[in-house]
């Protein structure tokens, strides 16, 4: 028995060494017209089919290109990309996050991205979206998705009570009161996910006090400790009576499950949640409305941010082929593929959005009409240093919801933190 185990072990080790050598060479066909392989790294598992269809579309056009896509868990993707780029082992194309952003800026400053302005046609992507990947006047990637956040609601519940989509904050409260009185949880909030609470604050803030006031803030003509900002926190703090019990312990997954399985009427979330909700409950009938304003007559604006873009590796051995791929991703045809496969909002205009996703279409239209110009969460000027509004809200929103600090103190924490580096506010 012992001998057998030793033999087995030796066999395994030998096999291990044989396999360990690694197949560094790509399997190339020996046909005269060899296909070129373009490698792409990203953090989204849902994109696998997008690239398959892209490959088909390119080959139909006559470009003999094979795309190999690998995805890595989002929380670890950045480490992997950063290390590989420095080590010279990264893929031809890789996903990047947005600007302003220290990580992406770091890549640019150290020569790990190629400016694409003169290489491909970017006319199908709106300027505001391109600004999210623009630095030093150049565009450093092809944006692939915009995200829209706001309030998503259960249409069946609203229909049952005859509620219309609220246009003012007061109307939202009225709806919540009625639901709660009837034993229905008005909001499902993921209190454990600090980032989602920061997002909640941000989406409420772009409606009231609104994009113009935030613009003043960015210039230093207003402060975070002004009542406009403080009241955002206050409104949310007052809203928590309409959240589910013990909301502070729920994750975003639990929130999604609760919402899709009709345990609550509304959530503060983003359009990307849709595929989860449909997966959990194919019959789920949900809708969207922007966060209502406080003063009747004001126009709401919506938090839209660029989710990510495709960047080109400067030391890619297959630049020509990679550029062909990137050129395609900036075209409406790609936008159509992207939205149809993932159910998310492509950054490209002129795409054909899936007809069976009315909420997606609604958000797409919203993003192109009332997107906030000035913001303070992701994709804003306040991301250019440490700490950011995002990082402070991430922790302090929980403290406020737990009653450990007041909305005034929350605002002061943000002001003090930003004042350490944001010049206009110093």
């Amino acid at each position: 028995m012992k001998k057998a185990m030793i033999v087995l072990l030796v066999l395994f080790i030998t096999a291990g060494f044989i396999f360990a050598g690694g197949q560094k060479d790509q399997a190339q066909t020996t046909a005269a017209d060899k296909p070129v392989t373009v490698t792409i790294w990203g953090w989204r598992t849902q994109d696998a089919d997008v690239w398959k269809q892209t490959q088909e579309a390119l080959q139909a056009k006559g470009d003999n290109i094979v795309i190999e896509y690998e995805s890595f868990v989002p929380a670890e993707y950045d480490s992997k990309a950063l290390l590989s780029l420095q080590g010279g082992t990264a893929s031809d194309i890789f996903y990047t996050r947005r600007l302003p952003g220290a990580r992406t800026q770091g890549l640019i400053d150290n020569g790990f991205l190629v400016p694409l302005d003169n290489e491909i046609d970017l006319n199908n992507i709106p300027e505001t979206t391109l600004n999210s990947i623009r630095s030093g006047g150049k565009v450093w990637g092809v944006p692939f998705a915009n995200q829209v956040v706001g309030i998503f609601y259960n249409k069946d519940i609203f229909a049952k009570y005859g509620f219309a989509e609220p246009e003012t904050w007061a109307e939202l409260i009225t709806i919540s009161k009625k639901l709660k009185a009837d034993g229905i949880t008005p909001f499902m909030i993921p209190g454990k996910a600090g980032w989602a609470l920061a997002m909640q604050h941000a989406m409420v803030g772009v409606s009231t006090p609104g994009s113009d006031w935030i613009g003043k803030l960015a210039k230093g003509e207003a402060k975070f400790t002004d009542p406009e900002f403080v009241n955002v926190g206050r409104r949310l703090n007052d809203l928590k009576q309409y959240y589910q019990k013990d909301f502070i312990a729920n994750s975003t997954d639990e929130m999604s499950a609760g919402f899709a399985l009709e345990q609550a009427a509304m959530v503060f979330y983003g359009i990307w949640g849709g595929s989860n909700w449909k997966e959990l409950n194919p019959d789920f009938n949900y809708g969207y409305f922007p966060v209502p304003v406080v003063n009747k007559g004001d126009k709401p604006s919506v938090y839209v941010y660029m989710d990510g873009s495709y960047g080109l590796n400067p030391i890619s051995a297959n630049k020509e082929a990679a550029l062909k791929v990137l050129e395609f991703t900036a075209s409406p045809a790609f936008g159509t593929i992207f939205s149809n496969v993932t159910g998310e909002m492509t950054a490209v205009t002129g795409a054909d959005l899936p007809k069976d996703k009315p909420v997606l279409q609604e958000c797409y239209a919203t993003a192109n009409s009332i997107a906030a110009e000035n913001m303070y969460w992701v994709g804003s000027v306040f991301q250019n240093g440490t700490p950011t509004v995002y990082s402070i809200l991430r922790e302090k929103m929980q403290s406020m919801y737990l009653g450990d600090i007041t909305p005034e103190e929350l605002a002061k924490d943000v002001q003090d933190g930003l004042a350490t580096w944001y010049k206009p506010l110093q």
Binding site: G16, F19, A20, G22, Q23, E70, F72, A257
Partner: protein
């Protein structure tokens, strides 16, 4: 070993049963959840699945590409724990048995490796591997996993070595055996329980690690199981039914490995009882 009356026996048995329940309960939930739909996992945690479906398991197996990843995980794990065990036990032998200048310094030097989180040093390690031309190979994993197990294994084995009486060794040395022979023929067998403990520990560590494969492996064909599982933690997906099924599949080899080895060290434990 103890003389106990009936009342004492009942109390002891109750304690064991209580802890057994504390174990079976969560493990049971884990196993059964793999058979449920995501909806049921959330809303009906208590009940048995309405439909005992193997679909999640089947899908998890293919989506996570388990057949390929399994092979890689097994190879990487077995090779690295074998080497770790081999070189750590030799090192422990030297450290436990001999006095030489610098012994304590070397012992503490090796112990230091336990204190530091691996992520801090990932860039130098990555560059080392890349410079050796081993990026994107399983070989890189062999090396880092073997190296990573040295601190703990050496520490534990050194402590166990000290419990072995010197006389057996002296007798063998008088008979003319080399140090290596003494180590191989005498110490290793006596250390079986300790070796088994260290082996299981290292198996768990290597099998479940996702960080090194993430950084060093690019090709799908060389990925290991933890990376495959991560496909279920997608950026926006919450396929909990697949997740549980996948996690359960990943756990089975370890449990089997442990059950096989448990005879070794549980056997070793009761051997001592007859002493």
């Amino acid at each position: 070993m103890f003389r106990l009356n009936t009342v004492q026996k009942i109390i002891i048995f109750s304690i064991l049963i209580l802890w057994a329940i504390a174990n079976i309960f969560p493990l049971g939930v884990m196993v059964i959840s793999g058979f449920k739909s995501t909806r049921e996992i959330f809303l009906a945690p208590f009940s048995l699945p309405s439909k005992w479906s193997f679909d999640s398991y089947k899908e998890a197996w293919t989506v996570a590409n388990f057949s390929v990843y399994f092979k890689n995980s097994i190879i990487v794990t077995l090779v690295s724990i074998t080497f770790t065990l081999f070189i750590s036990s030799m090192a422990a032998y030297v450290l436990a048995r001999f006095e030489f200048p610098g012994r304590r310094a070397i012992y503490l030097f090796i112990l230091a490796g336990l204190v530091l989180p691996v992520r801090l040093a990932i860039l130098p390690i990555f560059l080392l591997i890349r410079n050796m031309g081993l990026n994107n190979t399983l070989f890189s994993l062999f090396i880092v996993y073997t190296a990573g197990g040295i601190s703990f294994s050496t520490f534990l084995l050194t402590n166990f070595f000290k419990t072995i009486p010197m006389d057996i060794e002296d007798a063998a040395r008088i008979d003319g055996a080399s140090y290596f022979r003494v180590y191989w023929k005498i110490h290793l067998p006596l250390l079986r329980p300790a070796l088994a403990t260290v082996t299981v520990f290292n198996f768990i560590r290597v099998w479940n690690d996702f960080f090194f494969p993430l950084i060093f492996i690019n090709d799908n064909a060389k990925k290991t199981i933890p990376l495959g599982i991560q496909n279920f933690f997608g950026e926006y997906a919450i396929k909990w039914d697949l997740l549980f099924a996948g996690l359960n599949i990943a756990v089975i080899p370890i449990i089997i490995f442990f059950i096989i080895l448990s005879k070794q060290f549980i056997g070793g434990l009761t051997e001592g009882a007859i002493k």
